[in-house]
């Protein structure tokens, strides 16, 4: 798995490529933790090239949702592949997490109220 970060104003765009499983989730955890420690609480997650996610990968994002919300921030995912989206749907997280189809839509959600 590879993680690419790009600062965009007061938000951070994180592009994930490859498979996010119990092995690679540690790297994603470190990436998000570092972002929050820098005081950035608006995160866009580009999932276009994320080909697989297990519960360990989902757990990393889930564990930061409350802290980010408490800082008036948000995590918005976009361009999810069907298999990745289905994992969130099975868990019922598609109703809790912010998920957009396009980057433009994701940015609108990120910056709304």
């Amino acid at each position: 798995m590879e993680i690419f970060k790009q600062k965009q104003g007061d938000s951070l765009l994180i592009s994930v490529e490859g498979e996010l499983d119990a092995s690679s989730s540690i790297d994603m955890d470190k990436a998000i933790e570092a972002t929050i420690n820098e005081g950035i609480y608006k995160l866009l997650i580009n999932c276009e090239k994320l080909s697989y996610i297990s519960s360990a990968g989902v757990g990393v994002f889930v564990s930061y949702v409350e802290d980010i919300k408490n800082k008036n921030g948000k995590i918005v995912f976009y361009k999810m592949q069907a298999n990745v989206l289905s994992v969130l749907q099975i868990l019922g997280l598609d109703k809790i997490l912010s998920i957009a189809e396009t980057e433009e839509e994701a940015k609108l959600i990120l910056n709304e109220g």
């Binding site: 499983d21 697989y52 360990a56 564990s63 409350e66 298999n83 868990l91 997280l93």
Partner: protein, 137 residues
């Protein structure tokens, strides 16, 4: 068709195990998405066995035995580690509470039980076995 794999209890082996499972269930007459979900369910059980059952001790092994036809699948995942009954019970926790409690874990078994038709944990010959079955409708 039957297939068997032994792998060390290392998280780095999970990708290799997924590749083996994907290849082994190729004959199953399911959609690509259904097959990917089955691979996920098996990955979750293997990850639990490797991390929680065997503390990622790579001198230990897990054994996968797959019995697959065009319409049915049975997978036995065996190891010498012990599963935690409380962890099994944790699968019933509400997802909103998992988010609120900032949990990283507790979702794997929710996926396994949702995707597979039957999930059974038991001990036989000093081995912990998780037996998963799926019959296509």
């Amino acid at each position: 068709m039957k297939a068997k794999l032994k792998a060390e209890c290392s998280k780095e082996k999970l990708k290799y195990i997924r590749g083996f499972v994907k290849e082994s269930i190729e004959i199953l007459e399911a959609t690509d998405l259904e097959k990917e979900q089955i691979v996920l369910a098996i990955d979750e059980v293997c990850a639990n066995a490797i991390i929680h059952g065997n503390q990622t001790n790579d001198t230990k092994q897990i054994i996968l035995e797959i019995d697959v036809t065009e319409t049915s699948l049975k997978v036995d995942i065996s190891d010498i580690g012990l599963y935690d009954p409380e962890e099994l019970a944790g699968r019933n926790k509400d997802i909103a509470d998992i988010v609120k409690d900032k949990q990283k874990g507790g979702m794997g078994l929710k996926l396994v039980y949702s995707i597979m038709d039957n999930v059974e944990y038991y001990i036989k010959n000093n081995m912990s076995i998780c037996s998963l079955t799926k019959v296509l409708k």
